[in-house]
């Protein structure tokens, strides 16, 4: 059995760690609340803009020809993946899950050479370590990202797609369901394919109707192409923005839960160690008393 002093030292260090994890849990909890609010607040906007696009798509037969961002390519050779992870670790399986999902996807679809746009340091570091093609990185996003922060990412995706550098752009991020559940998700960002399958599960609740209520032809002001020119890049940006917010809410939730577990584990460990400590102390005392008693006995017999 370890010595009494050794056990005492371990208890102290575990206690210190639990204080740190508890502090981190508190910080994550307050950030989580803000991030969740923000993610939930912008969901209706993202969902409604998608709904409008679906109504638009249900109108014409040749939707793909209306705008280059809607046109799918016959052969998909160059794929871009926007990978949204955290800048920091200590968030349980959060970073690992979305990265694993992405690498599996790259393997199964044969897109091993996909160009990665890394949002967040963890994803960037992982992809670089495994020799993937990281073409751009966006790190140190502010805690409350605005559409200003996301605009360059959207511009990179849209420009790259229009120039033919990408035949498809995918978005890999973590969907926020609730504090305990976050789902790593990969979905197609470009070309924009109006249809419910491009929508994530959490967003589906916000869509009231995907089919237009009337069959009458739409009036467009200005003409459809100009209108789409204005809406589509914006829609892409909104999708990325929403993904960043979902990811942020997921990250802080995952971190909060991970740190809470760590604090609880530490508490349990302290309990176990205290028990061992007391036992060891007891044993030491008993042994000492036996020594004294034995010594006294020996003295008594000798005299």
């Amino acid at each position: 059995m370890a010595s009494v002093r050794e056990i005492k030292r371990r208890i102290k260090s575990v206690k210190n760690i639990s204080q740190v994890t508890r502090a981190m849990q508190m910080i994550a909890a307050s950030r989580m609340r803000r991030a969740q609010e923000q993610a939930l607040a912008s969901r209706p906007y993202a969902a409604k803009s998608w709904e409008i696009l679906m109504h638009f798509a249900a109108q014409g037969t040749n939707v793909e020809q209306l705008h280059p961002l809607l046109a799918s390519r016959e052969t998909v050779k160059n794929v871009g993946i926007i990978l949204i992870t955290a800048d920091k670790g200590l968030a349980g399986g959060y970073n690992g899950n979305v990265i694993r999902k992405t690498t599996r996807y790259m393997q199964s679809e044969g897109h091993e050479d996909a160009s990665i746009v890394a949002v967040g340091k963890k994803g960037r570091d992982f992809m670089l370590r495994f020799g993937r093609k990281v073409i751009a990185e966006f790190t140190d996003m502010p805690p409350r990202p605005t559409s200003f922060d996301v605009a360059p990412i959207a511009r990179l995706a849209v420009d790259g797609f229009l120039k033919g550098e990408f035949d498809e752009v995918h978005l890999a991020y973590t969907d926020f369901v609730n504090t305990l559940t976050q789902v790593p998700t990969i979905r197609l960002l470009l070309p924009i394919k109006p249809g419910a399958d491009q929508l994530s599960d959490v967003m589906r609740d916000y869509i009231s109707d995907t089919k237009p209520m009337t069959k009458a032809p739409y009036i467009y002001e200005p003409d459809p192409t100009t209108l789409l020119d204005a809406i589509l890049p914006n829609l892409t940006e909104v999708q990325i923005y929403q993904a960043v917010l979902e990811a942020r809410a997921s990250e802080e939730s995952a971190r909060m839960v991970a740190m809470r577990n760590a604090t609880e584990n530490a508490k349990e460990l302290i309990g176990d160690l205290t028990l061992t400590y007391n036992k060891a102390r007891q044993a030491a005392i008993t042994k000492e008393m036996l020594d004294i008693a034995g010594g006294a006995e020996a003295l008594a017999q000798a005299s």
């Binding site: 607040a41 906007y45 109504h55 638009f56 237009p212 009036i219 002001e221 200005p222 809406i231």
Partner: protein, 149 residues
């Protein structure tokens, strides 16, 4: 009187979601009034004032900073880049935002996209200030003026 459902949504959340009788919106090709049973329509919106009419209630005004409006069936969706009820506009804050936007505009002249964004921000804040001033001068919302607006 017949009604339709009007939803005004911004990136920061849902601003308005009620049954209304009429909405007057600033379309890019002119101000348009939408009544129930309007033909399906999809349009971009300009910076300006969005007026909502409801039976038995004073008109409500929102300052919108551009966006998209879809009319179809008994539902109208306004996806606004920004939307505030005129009574909720904080003029002092809007002034600050305008100054910031002006500074940014002066700096951002090199990059087209930054320039567009700064310009949009400037127009949004100017629109906000203009509408807030106008509605306050009349004694605020709720007071019907002789011209019926």
């Amino acid at each position: 009187m017949a009604t339709f459902r009007l939803e005004i949504v911004t990136i920061e959340g849902k601003v308005f979601d009620e049954e209304v009788n009429m909405v007057v919106a600033p379309g890019v090709e002119g101000v348009m009034g939408i009544l129930p049973r309007h033909a399906p329509l999809l349009t971009r919106l300009h910076f300006g004032e969005l007026q909502i009419k409801k039976d038995g209630q004073a008109d409500q005004f929102y300052a919108v900073g551009g966006g998209v409006m879809e009319v179809q069936g008994s539902q109208v969706i306004v996806l606004a880049d920004s939307a505030e009820h005129v009574d909720e506009i904080d003029i002092a804050r809007a002034e600050e935002a305008r100054q910031r936007a002006e500074e940014r505009l002066a700096q951002a002249s090199k990059d087209q996209l930054d320039f567009d964004r700064a310009e949009a921000a400037l127009r949004r804040s100017a629109n906000r200030i203009k509408l807030a001033r106008r509605h306050r001068q009349r004694g605020g919302y709720g007071v019907q003026t002789p011209d019926g607006r």
